[in-house]
């Protein structure tokens, strides 16, 4: 992939939590209409990578560029305003706000989310999001705290789309969901990819990852130990066994 195609370029980032050295020089790039998956066991640095890109735990060294311009010294709110949306681990919807308020928050004048035709050509608005997630339409006036886990996940994805991002960072969107809902997440991911969004997907669900990934990186102790396609990972028993804890013939 040519660097000039990349929307988001992460180059040799090193991230710490206090004195704890978590990410040891990670690099990757995201392009429109592609899903890059990060796989790894708990505590290997997957979420820290997402937080580093989103500006919530900025890297101490290395560079992150978005649309060719550096992001490294940009505050989290500025990164979101540039067109990178986050679907965080654990959903983190605003539980004391209604579904409608949750969805409308990124369109607040304070959020300065511009209407981006960008790479997707699609303009998300409340109607579009509710058409995509009809279960939310039925709960539009309910508080976030009243939603089921699956509904909260749809709300977290819908909230991200309302900002009309060109790039979406998703941290374990299938976590804690029933298989039917995981299938729905998979369909959404594929649809977003076909619409031209660049997606970074952090997952522990190998089946989902293999089904949607254009590229896969496996992370272990803050370093990438594998980079390749779904097919290549499926055949790499050493990585599957040692870094993902998956027995042969998963």
């Amino acid at each position: 992939m040519a660097a000039s195609d990349a929307l988001l370029e992460v180059s040799d980032i090193h991230t710490y939590y206090g004195d704890s050295y978590v990410l040891h020089g990670l690099s990757l790039s995201l392009t429109p209409g592609k899903i890059v998956v990060i796989l790894g066991r708990n505590g290997m640095g997957k979420t820290t990578l997402v937080r580093s890109i989103a500006g919530l735990t900025p890297p101490r060294r290395g560079e992150i560029k978005f649309e060719g311009r550096p992001l490294t010294s940009t505050a989290a709110y500025g990164i979101a305003q540039r067109g990178i949306a986050l679907v965080p681990q654990g959903r983190r919807i605003f539980k004391s706000l209604t579904v409608r308020e949750n969805l409308m928050l990124p369109t607040s004048t304070l959020a300065k989310s511009k209407k981006r035709a960008s790479h997707t050509g699609k303009q998300w608005n409340l109607k579009e999001v509710l058409d995509e997630f009809p279960q939310l339409a039925d709960r539009i006036g309910n508080l976030g705290s009243a939603l089921s886990g699956g509904e909260q996940q749809m709300l977290a994805i819908g909230r991200a789309l309302m900002a009309n991002p060109s790039t979406i960072l998703m941290d374990e969107p299938s976590e804690g969901l029933a298989p039917k809902l995981v299938q729905q997440v998979q369909e959404i991911l594929l649809r977003l990819r076909s619409e031209g969004h660049a997606i970074l997907l952090v997952e522990q669900n190998l089946g989902l990852a293999l089904a949607v990934a254009d590229e896969i990186n496996v992370i272990s102790s803050g370093r990438f130990v594998f980079h390749g396609s779904s097919d290549e990972l499926s055949k790499n028993t050493e990585v599957l066994d040692n870094h993902l804890g998956v027995a042969k013939g998963h």
């Binding site: 919530l56 505050a75 709110y77 979101a80 949306a85 986050l86 539980k95 706000l97 304070l110 900002a163």
Partner: protein, 286 residues
């Protein structure tokens, strides 16, 4: 029976005053986890400034406006140049803002002296009104209750029915996520803090007419406001309303029925409540 009703109205008028101070305190804490112990001193300084304006111009409305705007300006500088640089360390925030409160108290003592002073009321707030049942009650206290209800209603509408209110509530829920969806929470805090300082300044002017202004009054009112916030739940506007009413009524009935134990009547139920509900009535775990 008349005495019971009178004490209830006394309690509600104190509740209205406490709400003005506690509502700002609780929302700023909820949004930014900032413990600002200088709100009592803001109250006192706003009251003294209002007193001087009232003496100079004779306008109570102008006294409220100047007293509150002066506190907004002071509050901005305290937030921007003192509180923000020390970060999220609550102990440092408490020590710093207690220091600010002492400094403001000393400045007030130097300028306005140590005597108890009262802001003179405009003619339309002097005297009494007859309530149903033939009870005569001071106009000021009735006006204060009405003002408290108006302020609480306005804040509730702002908090629950506007986009900016939704952003503030979201910030109370999860400040980091509000940043992550593209909203500069620090800038939002400046706005919320300005509203809180404005209300503290107004409370000072109203309190200067309702109670008295004197050295130490900042700590008396701060302690009551803290009880309101703790009972109601940090970060909750509804909690500030309920907490104000509870504290106002307990204070009024405590002073009437058991004057020697009035502080126990106030703090005893608070301690029992906290045993069973440590986050207060409407508070949430953070």
């Amino acid at each position: 029976m008349t005495a019971i009703i009178l004490q209830a109205i006394n309690g509600l008028s104190l509740a209205a005053l406490l709400f003005l101070l506690a509502s700002g305190f609780t929302v700023t804490f909820g949004l930014m986890r900032v413990v600002n112990m200088a709100y009592g001193a803001y109250y006192l300084l706003g009251g003294y400034i209002g007193l001087s304006v009232m003496r100079t111009t004779g306008s109570f409305e102008l006294a409220m406006l100047v007293g509150s705007v002066a506190i907004v300006i002071l509050g901005f500088f305290v937030d921007r140049f003192l509180i923000r640089p020390i970060g999220s360390n609550h102990l440092a925030q408490v020590l710093l803002t207690v220091g600010v409160a002492f400094f403001i108290g000393e400045v007030c003592l130097a300028i306005w002296g140590g005597d108890s002073l009262k802001i003179q009321l405009p003619s339309y707030l002097r005297g009494s009104v007859e309530l149903p049942g033939g009870i005569y009650y001071p106009k000021l206290r009735i006006a204060l209750i009405a003002f408290g209800i108006l302020t609480a209603t306005s804040l509730w509408l702002l908090y629950h029915k506007t986009q900016i209110g939704a952003v503030v509530r979201a910030g109370v829920d999860d400040r980091e996520m509000v940043n992550a969806i593209g909203i500069n929470v620090d800038r939002l805090f400046v706005l919320v803090s300005a509203v809180a300082s404005f209300l503290a300044g107004i409370a000072g002017v109203v309190g200067g007419a309702f109670l008295t202004l004197n050295p130490g009054a900042e700590w008396d009112i701060l302690v009551l406001a803290l009880v309101v916030v703790i009972v109601g739940g940090l970060g909750s506007l509804e909690g500030a309303v309920l907490g104000s009413i509870v504290v106002g009524l307990l204070d009024a009935y405590g002073r009437w029925l058991a004057p020697d134990f009035s502080y126990f009547v106030l703090f005893g139920p608070m301690a029992i409540l906290l045993l069973f509900r440590p986050t207060g009535i409407f508070g949430k775990e953070h």
